[in-house]
């Protein structure tokens, strides 16, 4: 009883001394190397600024195709001279290919960007049959999006086969690159931070952290190349082509790699550079880890940006703090149990608020990304999150045991407990690596949030006849409750003051009677049909009955594709 009290008093005393000394040494460092610190601060500020500048450009979700000309499924009388694709946001095309009816691809290289529309020149006169216009573009969040539009010349033929096979070799490379980059950032830079700030002069784990950071220094640029390959849809053998690297650098992941390289450099310098500056470099490195993660990725691209980017930043910093400290701590306890007590003490003091921030930001980001609980099981993204949560559960159990059961006796120097603690930290490391593996898997799964945005895109058609024309869009463009918006014009683009507009949706092959709804005029020049339910997905015939005058009605119709929910 007495010894316990004495120990806790001693602990408090040590804590006081420790913090006094750290403040003093910080001040000393600042005065002595004020100039260097100033440069460092500028460097740090630049990183933050870059991240912020990059931010507005990435404030979008995955791009979605809104309209295509020729429209999907259209039958044309003759070969078009150009194609156009309009997206929900500005995009840059990566690969545009026309697959002809015999399956031979024709690369389309001449295109112009016009706001959100990509206008593509058709280099050849196309023969009869069904063609596939295959597109691959990159959206502002740095992820490539692809799709295809089928159209026919003369009459439809059997659609040519377009292979959209997954390149598993490239996927494995991307995944491995990500995991190694995480190791470099979290274990390497995080380790450097733990050594500089928590280890109290001990250098245990220094070699491990340096190795991890070198690993990251190799993985970061390679990941950039892999990203370029993925964006272009090119195989691994094209890695040496400059365009691949330019493409990779042009994506938002380019920022992540650049900032990650800065973070790795800062971390390395804090270990091998002058000891006096170690703490500042390590701190800047830790902040750069957060900035690197916040610069790209699904979570950073989510709305609201002012919330998600700082949360990704904090989450990244928290992971680096926690995961980074594990190896130096474990090695210190194993090799120099005598000196490791203070390290262990500082870590256990700091870890609670860090874990609180990690959990809070993680939960908030998960809620933003997953949206509906059903998506946890229903999407690949959600299932990965469940796996990560399961791993986290084990990790937290271990960490809590370490913190509340083992830390105090280990600090007091009980060797058996210290051995247990080392083993436990080793297992924690393995779980952390597994979590990195799961998190790297998210690279390939769009979050439910982005899927929902894509699903909410309207289905739109343009109907053009000599008597009248109309733009009809059904929002969202999938089966279920929808609303329709209609703009009518005369056949020569003049205003058409219709007395009444009726929307008739029919799907003769489904055995469903035509759905007929009068449209209302909300006063903004459009006609609307609300409270409409489209029961099944597929190709519907949309007819508009436009009452031009008391005794004259114009009926126009076209096909519209309704997606499955």
């Amino acid at each position: 009883m007495i010894s316990l009290a004495a120990r806790s008093v001693g602990g408090a005393g040590r804590r006081l001394r420790g913090s006094d000394m750290s403040v003093a040494s910080f001040q000393w460092t600042t005065c002595r190397f004020g100039k260097r610190a100033g440069w460092l601060a500028i460097g740090l500020a630049t990183i933050m600024l870059l991240a912020v500048i990059a931010a507005p450009n990435q404030a979008f979700a995955h791009a979605a195709l809104v309209t295509a000309d020729p429209a999907d499924g259209m039958v044309l009388g003759q070969s078009p001279t150009q194609f156009s694709l309009t997206f929900s946001e500005p995009v840059s095309p990566l690969v545009l290919t026309l697959v002809r009816p015999d399956g031979t691809p024709l690369p389309l290289t001449a295109f112009r960007l016009n706001d959100q529309t990509v206008e593509i020149d058709n280099p050849r006169t196309l023969g009869p049959g069904t063609h596939v216009l295959s597109w691959r573009v990159i959206s502002a969040d740095g992820h490539p999006v692809g799709g295809s539009v089928l159209f026919s010349i003369g009459a439809p033929s059997a659609a040519p086969i377009v292979s959209e096979a997954v390149d598993w070799g490239l996927r494995s490379a991307i995944w491995t690159g990500r995991v190694l980059l995480y190791i470099g950032l979290f274990l390497g830079v995080g380790g450097a931070f733990a050594i500089a700030w928590l280890a109290k002069g001990g250098r245990s784990g220094q070699r491990f952290a340096i190795a991890a950071m070198l690993c990251g220094l190799v993985a970061a640029p390679l990941s950039l190349g892999f990203q370029g390959l993925d964006a272009l849809g090119a195989p691994l053998t094209h890695l040496s082509q400059p365009v691949v690297w330019q493409t990779g650098l042009g994506t938002s992941f380019g920022w992540t790699v650049l900032i990650a390289l800065i973070a790795l450099g800062l971390g390395l310098f804090s270990l091998v550079g002058p000891r006096a500056d170690a703490r500042l470099f390590a701190l800047a490195g830790l902040a750069s880890v957060g900035a690197a993660l916040a610069a790209s990725g699904h979570a950073s691209a989510a709305e609201p940006q002012w919330l998600t980017r700082p949360m990704v930043f904090l989450h990244g910093v928290g992971i680096a703090f926690w995961a980074g400290a594990l190896a130096p701590l474990g090695l210190a306890v194993r090799r120099q149990p005598a000196e490791a007590g203070l390290f262990l003490h500082r870590f256990s003091q700091a870890i609670l608020p860090v874990v609180a921030v990690l959990a809070a930001t993680g939960i908030a980001l998960a809620v933003i990304q997953v949206q509906a609980p059903a998506a946890l099981l229903g999407t690949a993204y959600g299932r990965l999150l469940l796996v990560k949560l399961a791993l986290l559960f084990f990790l937290f159990t271990l960490a809590a045991t370490n913190r509340w059961k083992l830390t105090a006796p280990a600090e007091a120097g009980e060797t058996e407990v210290q051995r247990r603690l080392v083993r436990s930290i080793g297992v924690e490391m393995l779980i952390v690596l597994a979590i990195f593996g799961v998190a790297a898997g998210w690279r390939f799964t769009p979050p439910p949030r982005a899927l929902a945005i894509a699903a909410a895109q309207p289905a739109s058609i343009h109907i053009h006849t000599p008597k009248a024309m109309a733009d009809l869009s059904i929002t969202p463009g999938h089966a279920g409750p929808v609303s329709a918006s209609i703009v009518v014009m005369t056949g020569d683009f003049g205003p058409l003051d219709a007395r009444q507009v009726t929307l008739v949706l029919s799907k003769p092959d489904s055995g469903i009677e035509p759905i007929k709804r009068p449209a209302t005029k909300p006063g903004d020049g459009t006609w609307r049909v609300d409270d409409l339910v489209i029961p099944v997905a597929g190709r519907w015939t949309a007819r508009l009955d436009i009452l031009v005058s008391d005794f004259e009605m114009v009926k126009i119709e076209a096909q519209i594709d309704i997606r499955a929910e």
């Binding site: 009452l547 008391d550 005794f551 004259e552 009605m553 009926k555």
Partner: protein, 171 residues
């Protein structure tokens, strides 16, 4: 032979649909003759009583005179024809373009007829169908019998076909 068969079929279908649609009793007339149009109104709109019947007079039907109907207010709208027509040696350039019977009440379960007469101009194209678009108004609703089949379209495919007559060659 085929032609007769076809018109026979058309007639059979015509009588079949006559119960549902507003139609003209006399379904053919020679160009250059006087035509007595009897509009047959078999029911109201969606079960509601008919309160007005309005007919648009097509181009080429001149000198129109509607028959008054007890309980209904009769109005005509006059306007210019697209061209000048010869009637008994005189040039006619304007006349009735729309006939309205309104203010009455014809319950859904009753049947009634609305009558007018006019002259079919001699230069109307014989062999074609001439349509008289009709708007049937009820209390808060309206059925517009104004659909005219496009070239090659089957008249039976229309939901609200305009009543029409087949123009026969001049006698």
């Amino acid at each position: 032979m085929n032609k007769y068969l076809l018109s026979g079929c058309a007639l059979a279908l015509g009588t079949g649909t006559a119960f549902a649609h507003i139609t003209l009793e006399t379904q053919e007339a020679a160009v250059g003759s006087t035509y007595k149009a009897i509009l047959r109104v078999p029911h109201g709109c969606e079960g509601k009583a008919t309160t007005a019947v309005r007919v648009q007079i097509p181009e080429g039907v001149i000198s129109v005179k509607p028959m008054p109907k007890p309980g209904w207010t009769l109005q005509v709208k006059k306007g210019k024809y697209e061209k000048s027509y010869q009637l008994y040696g005189e040039a006619v350039t304007s006349g009735v373009r729309e006939v309205d019977w309104s203010g009455g009440s014809l319950p859904d379960e009753f049947y009634d007829e609305f009558v007018f007469r006019g002259t079919l101009a001699a230069d109307l194209p014989a062999g074609q169908t001439l349509y008289f678009p009709v708007v049937q108004e009820c209390d808060g609703a309206a059925d517009r019998w104004i659909e005219i089949p496009a070239a090659g379209q089957d008249e039976d495919a229309l939901e609200y076909p305009a009543p029409g007559i087949k123009l026969l060659p001049k006698k």
